[in-house]
Every structure is written in structure tokens, then in C-alpha cells.
């Protein structure tokens, strides 16, 4: 079997009074999108900086794309694209100058590729970076992370500061990267930033991984609001008995309810009538996410 894109074992990083990481076992498979979630200060950035060899582990092992970030750093970083949450660069240069320079450090990136990404994000490369808004500055960061189509994208809270339209564009870029076989490791403190793209999410807390879940499974388990409009009034009791439904209210031809788990029984029940419209809200994984927090916290106290 191929090496995982990222693997850490018992990774510990302590600095000064801060604990950093307290034994992180992380595994990210090749060509998956991995959401790395946790509150601020949980160790997300510490992990990412260890992967890039910006800081060195106190103990434990790190392998990225099968390589040691310390010993094979140059070869490794050639294959990585990195974006920090707050993209800080010398503001006196234009976006074009910076991207050309960073491209040259990687052995050259075609100008057409840079222009294509900038156009896509509606970014003016001719302006000095200090004159750009926070959102536009972050776009420069997005371009430099994606421009060389790296095997592994390491994105630290990537969409902070991007407006909703650009967040959608960013989601599309991540999906394309995944389709092209690239691995994406993306940290965030909110589920909504990663739930549209991530295959799996790992939750980090106090420097260790608390749980790893497939987003698909989370979604299945999630409770969502459903609204169905039929072409005629329907009897409420036909639906109150359907598995997984709660809060069922029927108002003439309009049914609204909460669905917990799979939608199949509801669909079967509804299919006996003529359905005019069907609305299922995107499940709020944030809720589930926090349920986990609370649970692990309780477990932690009990243990």
C-alpha cells in the first residue's frame, strides 16, 4: 500500500509554558480532503508548522509524502503548497512580483497558470500588496498555494477573510484538486469551512486527536429539517410513525419535520402522494461537532 500523505506518531511538541502537542497520531490518506478541526490554541498551527519543518518536534515521528520534513525538507516542500490563515508578506511588492518570485523558488511556474488563477479569484496582480484588502491579500495566498499544482496542499484556516462568493470558488478549487488526485489537509475552527469538501474530519483538542469521522457518516447521523409540499392535504398520522421523524406538523398540503438518520423511510412514505416540492436543509454538522466536544470532555472528566 502507498504511503499515507501525512502520518504522525506520538508527536509531541512543547515550547516554554505552552503544551503545543501532547501525542498526536494523525493519518491522512493520499488524495483525500482532510478537515483538521479544533478550537484556537488546540495545536492546529503547531501541527502544520511541524509538517513544514518550520518548527521541530520534541519527540515522535512525522512523515509527509513518505519523507522526513527535517532531513528531506527541500525535496518535500517542492511537492507541497502552503497557505497560512493570515497571509503575511512584504507589502511593498505587487502580487505579480511576489508570485513570480515564489514560482521561481519552485523552479518556475508558467505565467499563464498564475494569471488563470488570479482571474478566477478576480484578483488584480498589478497592485501593491499593502494596498489590498485582507480578502484580496488572502487571494494572493490562495494563488501561491495552488499555482504549482502540488501533491499536498496544507491550508491553515484558508478562507478566513474571503467573502462568500470566493469561499464557494475556493470550495470548487479544493474539489478540483481532489479530483486531480491531490491531497488536501485543511485546518479550521469551524465545521462549516470544511464540511463541503472534506472526506474526513479529525478533531484536535489540547494537542491530541480526539476523534476522526467520515463526513458522510456525520451527515447521515445529522438531524435536518425537511419540508415537503404535496398537491393536496395529507393526513399527519401517516408521517408521525415514520422512522427517524420528529416534530411532524402538517398544515394542509405542507409537511414539515425533523429527520434523524437516513431519508429512505420518509421518501417511501411521501411517494404515496404527489410531491410538489421537497426541501432538505443542509445538516448542521457544527452541532454534531460540538456534541463530540462535550462528550469527549465528559469522558475526559470521568476518566
Amino acid at each position: 500500500m502507498a504511503d499515507p500523505a501525512i502520518r504522525t506518531e506520538q508527536l509531541i511538541k512543547t515550547y516554554g509554558r505552552n503544551r503545543g502537542l501532547t501525542g498526536l497520531d494523525l493519518q491522512v490518506e493520499t488524495a483525500e480532503v482532510y478537515g483538521f478541526l479544533g478550537p484556537n490554541g488546540a495545536g492546529k498551527s503547531t501541527t502544520i508548522r511541524l509538517l513544514l519543518d518550520l518548527i521541530r518536534p520534541t519527540s515522535g515521528t512525522v512523515r509527509v509524502l513518505g519523507l522526513d520534513p527535517r532531513a528531506d525538507g527541500i525535496a518535500l516542500r517542492r511537492r507541497i503548497g502552503y497557505l497560512a490563515g493570515d497571509f503575511i508578506v512584504d507589502g511593498r511588492q505587487t502580487g505579480h512580483e511576489l508570485l513570480t518570485y515564489l514560482g521561481n523558488l519552485r523552479g518556475g511556474v508558467p505565467k499563464a497558470r498564475i494569471t488563470e488563477l488570479a482571474d478566477r479569484l478576480d484578483l488584480d496582480l498589478g497592485r501593491r500588496i499593502k494596498g489590498l484588502s485582507k480578502g484580496n491579500r488572502q487571494k494572493v495566498g490562495v494563488v501561491q498555494a495552488f499555482m504549482h499544482s502540488p501533491e499536498l496542499l496544507i491550508l491553515d484556516e484558508p478562507t478566513s477573510g474571503l467573502d462568500p462568493f470566493l469561499q464557494q470558488e475556493f470550495v470548487a478549487m479544493v474539489r478540483e484538486a481532489k479530483a486531480a488526485g491531490q491531497t488536501v489537509f485543511m485546518s479550521s475552527h469551524v465545521m462549516s469551512e470544511v464540511q463541503q469538501t472534506a472526506d474526513r474530519v479529525g478533531i484536535i483538542r489540547d494537542g491530541r486527536l480526539v476523534t476522526v469521522e467520515r463526513v458522510e457518516e456525520l451527515r447521515e447521523r445529522a438531524v435536518r429539517r425537511i419540508e415537503i409540499v404535496f398537491d393536496a392535504a395529507v393526513p399527519a398520522d401517516e408521517f408521525t410513525t415514520v422512522a427517524g421523524l420528529s416534530d411532524v406538523t402538517v398544515n394542509g398540503a405542507r409537511l414539515s419535520c425533523r429527520l434523524d438518520g437516513r431519508a429512505d423511510p420518509l421518501i417511501k412514505a411521501a411517494s404515496r402522494y404527489t410531491v410538489v416540492s421537497f426541501l432538505a436543509e443542509e445538516p448542521d454538522l457544527e452541532d454534531l461537532f460540538f456534541t463530540y466536544y462535550e462528550r469527549t470532555e465528559t469522558d475526559g472528566v470521568a476518566a
Partner: protein
């Protein structure tokens, strides 16, 4: 193309500030050198004779009756080396520590460049700035040699003095670079650089006035820079080696530590 690597990028990023320093230092040096004809009046000689000798010595203002003596004191004795040291310390502290504190070093080091290479290339760009400064000052002094009546000082002697000056600046740039690279703290780099400059100056010009402290002179970069009077006697191998060796040790130690430590957030 100046966007090729960290060396050319550093040249490009700092071109204005480096050129500003070079032009200013050359201008100040030229201005003082141009005063030479006015210094030759008997009134001026009397005025200087009235100063206590220790004070003149403290100002590196010794023999001002010959052109070489005057240039060695007024131009190369204190003001110009001090400006060059300040330039070197400020730029050296910025090379790694300044960028790290600003938070912009992460991006460079997340690219396929080794830390040592990135750091040394940036330091090399700073050396270019110091060499340009020296060259500009040398050209300016060569140009006014005739009009300012100090043709007794040869072009070669000016070049030797300039070499010493550039190495003197390099020593302080290397010190601030090394401390900054090792600690990541710009303030520490500036502080150590300034402290060594002040103590080095005192050790060369003031402390030796007490006989028991004459040894202090030997460990002063100012002494390495001025000893043997390069403006009269040409390049002084001992001083050159001490300045260059000091710089090399600072650069090597700072870079070594930089490749082994955590980069601050």
C-alpha cells in the same frame, strides 16, 4: 531578473534603503573631506591645540596637520565608520530577525529553499550594499582629491582605507545578523550590535588612556579597523584578518543556530 532567488530578491527589496545609506555616507564623507583646505589655516591649528589631548584622542582626532591625518580623523576616524556600523547593524538585524518578527519568514521557508541558503543569500545582499557604500565613498573622495587639495593621499591609500571600512561594516552587520538569526529577536540583535559598537569604541579610544587598560584596544573592532594607519601604510593584513574572521565566525554561528531552531510564529 531580480526575482530569481533570495539573494536577488533581497537586493531588490532593499535597493532603496541601501542606496539611501550609500549616498548619504558618501555625501557626508565628501563634505568633511572638502573642508580640508579650510583646516590648514593657523587659526584652526591654534584652536585644535587648545583642546586637551585626551579629548582629541577620544574623538580619534589626532594628527590633523597632514591631509592623511585629517582624512583619517575627520572622515574615517569616527563619523563615517559609525554611520557604516549603524547601517550594518540595522540591516543585519533585519535580515532574519526583522522578517521573522513580521511573520513573513514562514512563507519563504515553506518553499523548497534550505534555511542556510536563504539566510546566507540575504546576508550576501547586505554585503553588496556595504561594498557599494564603500565604492561610492571611494569614488567621491578620488573625484575631489584635486579640488580639495589632498592629492598627497594616493588613490591606492584611499582604496586600502575603504577596504578596512567595508570590513568594519561587515563585522557589525555579521554580528547583528548572527544574533538575529540565532535568537529571532530584532531588538536583541540591535542591542548587541550597538553595545559592541559603543564598547569597541571606548576600548579603542578612551580606555587605553589608562595604561592598565591598554590591552582593551586589542579586542576592539575600531582598533582592527584603524590600527597601522591604512590611509598612510596601505592594507593592514592583521586588521583585515581580524575583521573578516570576526565576521565569518558571527555569520557561521548565527546561521548554524538558525538551521536548528524553531521559527517563531
Amino acid at each position: 531578473m531580480l526575482l530569481r532567488n533570495p539573494f536577488t530578491k533581497a537586493l531588490r527589496d532593499n535597493r532603496r534603503s541601501m542606496l539611501g545609506w550609500a549616498v548619504s555616507i558618501a555625501a557626508v564623507g565628501t563634505m568633511y573631506a572638502a573642508f580640508w583646505p579650510t583646516m590648514q589655516t593657523p587659526e584652526m591649528a591654534d584652536a585644535l591645540a587648545a583642546y586637551p589631548e585626551g579629548m582629541l584622542e577620544a574623538l580619534n582626532f589626532e594628527d590633523v596637520t597632514s591631509p592623511a591625518g585629517y582624512l583619517g580623523s575627520a572622515v574615517y576616524g569616527l563619523l563615517i565608520p559609525l554611520l557604516v556600523a549603524v547601517f550594518g547593524i540595522a540591516a543585519g538585524a533585519r535580515t532574519i530577525a526583522g522578517d521573522e518578527e513580521a511573520g513573513s519568514l514562514d512563507l519563504l521557508l515553506a518553499h523548497p529553499v534550505s534555511r542556510a541558503r536563504a539566510a546566507l543569500q540575504r546576508f550576501a545582499a547586505l554585503l553588496v550594499g556595504l561594498v557599494v557604500t564603500g565604492a561610492l565613498l571611494w569614488l567621491a573622495l578620488v573625484a575631489i582629491r584635486g579640488p580639495a587639495e589632498f592629492t598627497a593621499v594616493g588613490v591606492g591609500a584611499l582604496a586600502a582605507m575603504t577596504l578596512h571600512l567595508v570590513l568594519f561594516g561587515t563585522a557589525f552587520a555579521a554580528l547583528a545578523y548572527g544574533v538575529g538569526a540565532a535568537t529571532g529577536s530584532r531588538a536583541t540583535a540591535l542591542g548587541v550590535g550597538a553595545a559592541v559598537a559603543v564598547l569597541g569604541y571606548l576600548a579603542n579610544a578612551v580606555l587605553p588612556q589608562v595604561d592598565a587598560l591598554a590591552w582593551a584596544r586589542d579586542i576592539s573592532p575600531f582598533h582592527w579597523y584603524l590600527a597601522g594607519d591604512p590611509l598612510v601604510n596601505g592594507v593592514q593584513v592583521g586588521g583585515v584578518l581580524l575583521l573578516a574572521g570576526f565576521a565569518a565566525v558571527c555569520v557561521a554561528a548565527g546561521t548554524w543556530r538558525f538551521t536548528r531552531r524553531d521559527i517563531a510564529v
